[in-house]
């Protein structure tokens, strides 16, 4: 599904990704974790083509990312801060994204699921953070793409919506899709993720299941295991 070889990215003098190799198979939920500034967002944005790598190969679904944009047709992406053009109404935004992608969609079902009907004719600028995030989720999940990338999907959601989101993710997983998630909520990772990709200083420090991670760090608790990686490395 995603092949990354020897990826390098520098922002000015700051080497964010170096010699990064990553191979993600089809199917399952992958949590991309790592401390702040470890390059999670840069990695995701590289996959999406928003960041142009200095060096290395990146293929998604067999197509090279470089100077290509059509492969994004097969990706659903939920951006971190959902700040939409404020003058548009929710309904118009959904219509616009549909228009841009020209794919069958199931927005009605999701709008009902998150109870967004009353907001459809409101301008996006007037919505609360949580509602915006729900709109964001609708926009992401309304298409049927084999790769889904979620950047901090839980931000601003109330518990009820969070449960619905989780159900939604599991549903998509059930369809055999590949889902990439970054988050800081470890509980969410523990609950959802099949595999963990742990980034540190621009490289993959660990890739595997939660059980493998716990075995490696000799911890019985996931959150401690993650913490252990950080301390371990800072000690080392």
């Amino acid at each position: 599904m995603i092949e990354i070889e020897n990826l390098h990215k520098k922002f000015g003098k700051n080497q964010v990704l170096s010699h990064l190799d990553l191979h993600i198979n089809e199917g399952g939920i992958f949590a991309v974790l790592g401390p702040n500034g470890s390059g999670k967002t840069t990695l995701i944005k590289s996959i999406l083509g928003m960041v142009v790598p200095n060096k290395g190969n990146l293929t998604v679904l067999g197509a090279s990312v470089r100077k290509n944009w059509k492969y994004r047709q097969e990706i659903d992406y939920l951006p971190q801060i959902a700040n939409f053009p404020g003058n548009l109404k929710v309904r118009e935004l959904i219509r616009m994204i549909k228009d841009l992608r020209q794919k069958p969609s199931r927005e009605q079902e999701l709008i009902t699921l998150f109870g967004l009907e009353p907001f459809l004719d409101k301008k996006l600028a007037t919505l609360s953070g949580g509602t915006k995030q729900k709109v964001n989720i609708v926009l992401t999940f309304m298409f049927d793409s084999p790769l889904i990338i979620l950047d901090e999907p839980t931000t601003g959601l109330d518990p009820a919506s969070l449960i619905k989101l989780k159900e939604l993710i599991l549903q998509e997983k059930g369809k055999g899709k590949t889902i990439l998630i970054t988050t800081h909520i470890m509980q969410f990772v523990e609950e959802m993720a099949d595999k963990i990709v742990y980034l540190l200083e621009g490289n993959i420090y660990f890739k595997g299941t939660i059980d493998e991670l716990m075995a490696k760090t000799e911890q019985s608790d996931f959150e401690h295991a993650i913490a252990a990686i950080s301390t371990h490395t800072t000690n080392a």
Binding site: V52, K67, Y77, F84
Partner: protein
């Protein structure tokens, strides 16, 4: 690209600022005509406005729109769209809506005051064409500045400086150099210098209409063939087109290589 253009345009058409801009021109047109009752005089006053205000407004509006639509841009970047389409679409959306505000805002009062029955119609049309070019050029320059500067404050600063330079300082330096080197034949130099500044270029175009009698008073042969024939008109229009294409091309080029 057309889709992005459509949505940017749509977005702008509902933004308060487009209306402010539109109403500003509408009010300006009416006030000018109300005070003068004379199309010719109003056209001259308008020229000053177009040469000074249109670049300023386009610059500020362009920078503002670019920074404000950062999230929208990122949303679009994740969609299966070409990058150049996204930026050119947005650019055309902004430039297009600004041009529309200008043309309608000024056009309506003038048409109501009997423009079509007046011989000022050509001067006026030229004024609008020039205004449209200046809008395109300065919006493109503003987009370039904003694209190259992550920092909003810095971007705004550079944009305003650019305007100040092209609108005032450039002509000051230009005049100074003409006076310092007045011993030398300067007609080719002075004509060349006007082409390196889009505001001066537009001014030349308008001068060709309004002040041809004065321009033809100068002795130089180069001047004479430039202003006396259609050469000046074609060169100025050509350079304006070039001034529009170059920043747009750089915008497309830079946007392909930028990280978001």
């Amino acid at each position: 690209m057309l889709k992005i253009l459509k949505y940017s345009f749509y977005d702008l058409m509902r933004s308060r600022w487009s209306y402010v801009y539109f109403l500003f021109y509408l009010a300006l047109g009416f006030v000018l005509l109300f005070l003068n009752q004379d199309l010719s005089k109003a056209v001259i006053t308008l020229m000053n406005v177009i040469i000074v205000l249109v670049p300023l407004i386009s610059t500020i509006f362009g920078v503002m729109y670019f920074y404000n639509s950062k999230e929208f841009t990122e949303l679009l970047l994740a969609q299966p769209l070409k990058r150049t389409s996204i930026f050119l679409g947005q650019y055309l959306g902004v430039a297009g809506s600004l041009t529309l505000s200008l043309v309608l805002g000024l056009g309506i009062p003038f048409v109501l005051y009997g423009l079509f029955r007046s011989d000022a119609i050509w001067d006026f049309s030229l004024l609008l064409v020039t205004g449209a070019f200046l809008t395109m050029i300065f919006t493109a320059l503003a987009f370039n500045i904003a694209l190259s500067n992550e920092n909003k404050i810095k971007g705004f600063g550079y944009a305003v400086l650019m305007w100040l330079f092209l609108a005032v300082i450039y002509d000051g330096l230009f005049l100074l150099s003409l006076i310092i080197f007045e011993e030398y034949p300067l007609d080719s130099f002075s004509l060349a210098a006007t082409t390196f500044n889009p505001i001066d270029l537009s001014r030349t175009l308008i001068l060709l209409k309004l002040d041809i009698s004065a321009l033809l008073g100068y002795t130089g042969a180069v001047f004479k063939s430039y202003f006396g024939t259609n050469l000046g008109l074609f060169v100025s229009l050509g350079m304006l087109v070039l001034w529009t294409i170059l920043p747009v091309w750089r915008l497309a080029y830079k946007s392909k290589r930028k990280d978001f």
